[in-house]
Amino acid sequence: MNTWIERQRGLIDTTVANLRRRKARNLGLLLAYVLLVFLLASVVLFGDGMRREARLLLEEAPELVVQRLTAGRHDLMPAQWLERIADLRGVAAVEGRLWGYHHDAAVGANLTLQVPREAAPAAGRVHLGATLARLRGLAPGDVLSLRDHAGQPHAFVVEALLDSRSELVSADLVLLGEADFRAFFGIAAGLYTDAALRVVNPLETRTVAEKVLARLPATRVISREEMRRTYDAVFNWRQGLPLMVLSVLLAAFALLAWDKASGLSAEERREIGILKALGWDSGDVLAMKLWEGALLSLLAFLLGYTLAWLHVYYAGAPLFEPVLKGWSVLYPHFALAPEVDISRIVSLALLTVLPYVAATLVPVWRAATLDPDEVMRE
């Protein structure tokens, strides 16, 4: 066992000396390696952060949302329907919600206008998402002017900005009072966008949903579980795009590594020949070369992962925001909560180190099995 350790130590010493001797040659590969780990880790860490944020938000969402359908399309829900739902056994509370989208030509984006459940702003006043406020250059006390459904301008006084912790969803949010909302969109009293349900026993959500459908067949019932899955699917899909791009990068990197490993210079061939002539067998040279790959990978991975971690959690992931948070102009600036997840580290290591090992293994083996008498044949 001690012999084994001493031998590995000797091999590592030699490897380190070799890496130092060929600094310039290894630096290019190391940089490419670090960049690859950095990009891949950024995408994964960022996507995970987003998913977690979304899940946190959904924890506060109602268990069931009921929408009225007319000819298969979402329609406004009359207040009487809310009462018919409230009667159902197992329903703890029902409330009509008011929300809608408005295209704001000034920032070229869709805003979400919503009447909050509690603490709605007074008439003529709104609360704004921080991103929207920044884009519009608005501070509390300023006036937000929007054109209503009839094309008439409406002026709202900005009362407050929304807490930026939940900026992922609140970026494009405008909170306003019920009367203002109805006037702005021209929605008559007694009509709601949809209904939010709380159920008595969360385990019976499915049963309650079935009862709602039985009583009001012209509705669609969406559970929180389904919403969460949709969110996840959307984020995963968005994460899938850069991952596709990165898989091309991964292949390019593997090609580079392969090229570097197989394009042995005459000098390196000579050196391996010397080692073999001096009494190193193929296994020793192979082990040294594998150590070289392992040390390079470890260094690249630590650097790349640390950089990605800082990039995502402290710099706000400026590289990926437009892609991952949607194509909207209104992408928010926010900080994800830092997290270290071992399974992510393992999978990232597999994703980056394995292609390197796979690409270099055969060239390394070829180098290691050069004939020991090669140095004598000059």
Binding site: M1, L40, V44, G47, D48, E225, R228, R229, D232, A233, N236, W237, Q239, G240, L243, S282, G283, L286, L290, S343, R344, V346, S347, L348, L350, L351, L354, P355, V357, A358, L361, V362, W365, A368, T369
Partner: protein, 331 residues
């Protein structure tokens, strides 16, 4: 295909595909090796074959190094995916979301033990001047290669066939009073039988291991017992260890042990059990080698492996005893 969690699934697919590719190359080489190996001829073809053995052994070593993180990652991924399948509570639900999950896991396990056995043979073979285990080694490789291909295929089928809307079953349907099948019968095994059986097998295994270490005897028996102990230990986990950890008499699932609510008990128990079993089987294998050129080397390796196996299995037994002692459950 749902990419959840994307990076984990991709890493697993990449790893298993490269693993399959490497072992397929190794398997094809094994065929050539078995036909054309003539160590007493210094021909170019023979030298070329000998060179290639270095590539093949490196491939299998890397494959074994890969198999443990893959096994851990796969179980973790299945566990992490559970919230996305209606009805799933833990890894079982995700694994059962289509027909390929549980077979993939089983193939991974078998592959891990076989790769470990191969490495024991390889290590011994390279230390005998006449390479006495060469043919055995390459025959075993013919078994490993298709297994790696099957593993990759199963993982592709599994991840490729996942659909979020599938309603799967929770672990209660596999390991519970309401379930049927072998696994259900295991969970129905009364603790009064399972508990003494488990501790008896473990004690016998450890005793055989100690005999191997002290007297250099009972090596092969130790290997067999380590294998038997693995089966009994898995059955015992389902029958009574898991319920004690959950403190619920009817919760027998061996996968929920991996979750945070149960203090990640599985991440302590399983690695110890797997490591101990692999080392124990390897010790038995090494002790069974009778080649003249290895008369020093084989017992030495057997002892080294037995030391690891005994330490791991004893820790496993200690950990189980601790969980049982701490549990308030009376079954």
């Amino acid at each position: 295909m749902i990419f959840q969690p994307a990076a984990l699934a991709l890493a697993l697919l990449l790893a298993s595909s490269l693993n399959a590719l490497g072992l397929a190359v190794a398997g094809l080489f094994a065929l050539r090796m078995l036909r054309h190996w003539h160590p007493d001829i210094g021909s170019e073809a023979q030298i070329a074959l000998e060179r290639r053995t270095h590539l093949v052994s490196t491939l299998v070593v890397l494959s074994l190094l890969l198999s443990l993180p893959m096994l851990a990652l796969f179980t973790h991924t299945a566990d992490a995916m559970a919230p996305f399948f209606a009805g799933a509570m833990c890894a079982v639900g995700s694994l059962k979301a289509n027909a390929w999950g549980l077979p993939a896991l089983a193939v991974m396990l078998v592959g891990f033990f076989l790769a470990a056995a191969w490495l024991v043979l390889h290590r011994l073979d390279t230390r005998g001047w006449d390479q006495p285990l060469l043919l055995a080694k390459y025959r075993l490789l013919l078994l490993l290669a298709p297994l790696a291909l099957a593993q990759a295929a199963l993982l592709w089928l599994y991840f490729g066939g996942l659909k979020a809307e599938v309603i799967t079953s929770c672990c209660g349907s596999l390991f519970g009073p309401a379930a049927t099948g072998t696994l259900a019968e295991l969970s129905a095994l009364p603790e009064a039988i399972a508990r003494p059986l488990f501790f008896l097998t473990l004690a016998l295994t450890l005793a055989a291991g100690a005999t191997l270490l002290v007297r250099g005897r009972l090596g092969r028996a130790f290997g067999v017992l380590a294998g038997l102990n693995f089966v009994v230990a898995l059955a015992a986990i389902v029958a009574f260890i898991a319920p004690h950890i959950y403190e619920q008499p009817h919760h027998h699932c061996p996968f929920c042990l991996l979750q945070a609510e149960h203090g990640y008990a599985g991440w302590l128990l399983y690695p110890l059990l797997f490591l101990g079993t692999a080392a124990g089987l390897g010790a038995g294998l090494a002790a069974g080698v009778r080649a003249q050129s290895l008369h020093n080397e084989a017992p030495r390796l057997a002892a080294a492996l037995a030391r690891i196996a005994v330490a791991a299995l004893a820790s496993f037994g200690a950990a189980v005893s601790f969980y049982l002692w701490r549990s308030n459950l009376v079954m």
